[in-house]
């Protein structure tokens, strides 16, 4: 638990949500800052949020470093300790030792033991003495700053079960971690600490993980037709994939699942769905956004003239200080007639399930077959109230046709393009259309 966070003067961006704190140098791209902010926000209540973000970034950096000269760092809880990932010319002082990435590979994933604090700042900058009065305390948000001082609470973190409202390491929902800017493909070169695969834990690791320590995120989570899922139902199903039947019984066909046994493996069911509440109920770990509440309590995007749910009028020209769980941001309508809801990120491609972004639970797959679609073609991400598409440097590119535009335009690789309502997006020969109710100003999609 953090006692307080002090923002250091200087250039850059300091981010804090809950127990996760990050800093990025002024040269960091908006996409990188957005990633850090959204991931910190989504994992603010996680007992292992620091480790989850650090592992995710390390996995991506092992394959490709989209901003190799940019200094940034993230620090957050890892059960009873603290995890960090530092990148580029950044330094950390934890009271006992200096930590800084070596030139190659240019980043460092390390546990921290702050005594009495950890100071993160640009490499070579002066580390100020700890404020003896402890009067500076950055409680949360995104602000300008040249670094931060994180002072842990005296209780520290506790291992074991998460407290109510916390997200356990093995329960990361798709979308809690935003896709890392520029991340793509398999993280074949990344070395992942076997102990640091928290977001990918399964009930019986020996049945899934290879005998030797994994050398990549993909290897750690397993690949092929049975991606690791935190879903106990999926795990129960996978546990029953063995082709042989019970003793004395004929074998079942290969690959089949006995649903009666699968049901028994699941055991006691989970909590009932909530009664008497609408879609705006708080969801632990879900993204939180600022907005306006209608008279019935539905959270709306700022600038909407009326509630998209119930039609009641909304206050205009007022500060939007209300925050709540972000509602769905609309849907994607594919040219084959399928409709996909936008409540978490997607990876679009011909074989998206093989990508670590999907197998690691950070995005859902949106499979598209057809000419010109790359296996991992583009990311669809959610940023505050906006939906963005990011081409993964696919051979045929990602093209958009915005309402009123005369022609299609091709996205630059890894360019994050915010989608306007009604925008058509072409992935190879396949076309997807973005439809959303969140259209500030007139309340209607185009």
């Amino acid at each position: 638990m953090i006692e307080r966070v002090e923002v250091l003067p200087g250039e850059g961006t300091v981010i804090r949500y809950g127990e996760v704190v990050a800093w990025a140098a002024p040269s960091a791209s908006p996409a990188l800052i957005s990633f850090l902010a959204q991931s910190a926000r989504n994992l603010a209540a996680s007992a292992r949020g620091g480790r989850q973000i650090a592992d995710h970034i390390a996995g991506v950096l092992g394959e490709r470093d989209p901003e190799p000269r940019v200094a940034f760092a993230v620090v957050g809880p890892d059960g009873g300790g603290w995890a960090s990932l530092m990148h580029g010319p950044v330094q950390a002082w934890d009271g006992n030792r200096w930590l800084a990435p070596t030139p190659v590979p240019g980043w460092l994933r390390e546990s921290l033991d702050p005594h009495p604090a950890v100071t993160v700042s640009y490499a070579g900058s002066h580390v100020p003495a700890l404020d003896p009065d402890g009067m500076w305390d950055f409680e949360g948000g995104v602000v300008r700053g040249g670094g931060f001082v994180l002072v842990p609470g005296s209780r520290g973190h506790r291992g074991g079960p998460a407290e109510p409202g916390q997200v356990e390491s093995g329960q990361v929902e798709p979308g809690l971690l935003e896709p890392f800017p520029g991340g793509h493909g398999q993280s074949a070169g990344a070395t992942v600490d076997p102990e640091a695969t928290g977001i990918l834990e399964v009930p019986d690791p020996t049945s899934v993980l290879p005998a030797s320590p994994p050398t990549s995120m993909l290897e750690a989570v397993g690949s092929g037709p049975q991606p690791v899922s935190p879903d106990p139902a999926a795990t129960a199903g996978e546990a029953l994939h063995e082709p042989s039947g019970a003793p004395g019984q004929p074998a079942r066909p290969p690959g089949s699942i006995d649903l009666a046994r699968s049901a028994e493996a699941l055991g006691a069911s989970s909590e009932p769905l909530p009664v008497g509440v609408g879609p705006d109920r708080p969801v632990a770990g879900a993204a939180v956004v600022a907005g306006a509440l209608c008279e019935r309590g539905h959270l709306n995007r700022p600038g909407m003239p009326a509630c998209v749910r119930c039609g009641s009028s909304l206050p205009q020209d007022v500060p939007y200080t209300v925050t709540g769980t972000r509602p769905g941001l609309g849907c994607l309508v594919v040219d084959d007639g399928s409709v996909w809801r936008l409540d978490c990120p997607y990876l679009v491609g011909s074989e998206p399930s093989g990508d670590p972004t999907v197998s690691g639970g950070m995005a859902r797959p949106l499979p598209l077959t057809g000419d010109g679609v790359a296996p991992s073609h583009a990311d669809i991400t959610l940023k505050d109230w906006d939906v963005q598409v990011i081409d993964r440097s696919s051979a045929n590119g990602t093209w958009v046709h915005e309402p009123g535009a005369a022609a299609w335009s091709r996205l630059a690789p890894y360019e994050a393009r915010t989608l306007r309502p009604g925008t058509h997006i072409a992935f190879g020969q396949r076309v997807v259309t973005f439809v959303t109710p969140w259209v500030p100003g007139d309340g209607r999609a185009h």
């Binding site: 991606p227 999926a234 009666a260 989970s270």
Partner: protein, 267 residues
């Protein structure tokens, strides 16, 4: 007609990719009970990307013990089918579905069938699962009466696969707005299913020849109209199920079932 699906000996083609089949000796009954002698085998068109999600959803469905839910026995890759699909083995479906019943059904039977499906949905909700794909084609007729079966094509964020605009008229617009399935969206779908069977006019009268994107926009931004001449005294209860505010709909599917059975058309 196929002679077998996996090691299930097909005895009758029921149409729509379903077969009556003899159950092999290895099959166990629900809860470890006696094995059924006949089952229904369904061909499902499922991509390899959906396999884990499908089996997860079916396992979650199978764990719920309710007389108003279709019993599921086995799922596996269909190696010999026409496409790269999946077979699903369920208890024997004797009378088709509410969308394509084996015999004509009157208003009373239709209302009671949807009420039974609502009770099945309630059992799912109480176990923490939203169905998300309720329509008349997943309300099956088995020996003990109508039961709710699983949706098999809407996993991993897929809201619907449109064949025409009518598929959208069964959806709570909140799903198109990006919300996850919930009690209230299943209640909407149950009511829309019944209205599609007995209503005198479409829920969205203007939506006839729309293209997919136009149809999605129309459902997202318009409100359904329940005809006051809906038979059986159903207009009021169905109209409440379509309230824009989910908090003003019947709060549980069990509550909806009771309200449906209290209508004059159900007596």
């Amino acid at each position: 007609m196929r002679s077998a699906v996996a090691d299930y000996e097909v005895v009758e083609d029921l149409g729509r990719g379903r077969y009556a089949a003899r159950a092999p000796a290895r099959l166990r009954g629900a809860g470890g009970g006696a094995a059924p002698s006949r089952v229904t085998v369904m061909e499902l068109s499922v991509g390899s990307d959906q396999w884990a999600e499908l089996t997860s959803a079916l396992s979650r469905f199978a764990v719920v013990d309710s007389p108003q839910l279709l019993r599921l026995y086995e799922v596996g890759p269909d190696m010999d089918g026409a496409g790269a699909g999946v077979y699903l083995v369920t208890e024997e479906i004797t009378g088709g579905t509410l969308a394509h019943a084996a015999r004509a059904m009157g208003l009373r039977e239709k209302i009671r069938a949807v009420a039974d499906a609502a009770r099945g949905a309630h059992a799912l909700h109480e176990s923490g699962t939203a169905h998300g794909a309720i329509d008349p084609s997943v309300i099956y007729m088995v020996g003990r009466g109508p039961v709710l079966g699983p949706g098999t094509g809407r996993h991993g964020g897929r809201v619907v696969v449109m064949r025409d605009w009518r598929d959208l008229s069964l959806l709570d617009p909140d799903l198109l707005r990006g919300q996850a399935p919930s009690r209230s969206s299943d209640i909407w779908a149950l009511a829309a299913s019944l209205y599609a069977l007995v209503g005198p006019a479409p829920l969205y009268p203007a939506m006839v020849d729309d293209q997919p994107v136009t149809a999605v926009q129309r459902v997202m931004f318009s409100h359904p109209e329940v005809s006051p001449s809906t038979p059986g005294g159903l207009a009021d209860v169905l109209g409440r199920c379509f309230d824009a505010d989910p908090a003003l709909r019947p709060q549980t599917a069990a509550e909806l079932a009771e309200e449906l059975l209290a209508c004059e058309g159900a007596r």
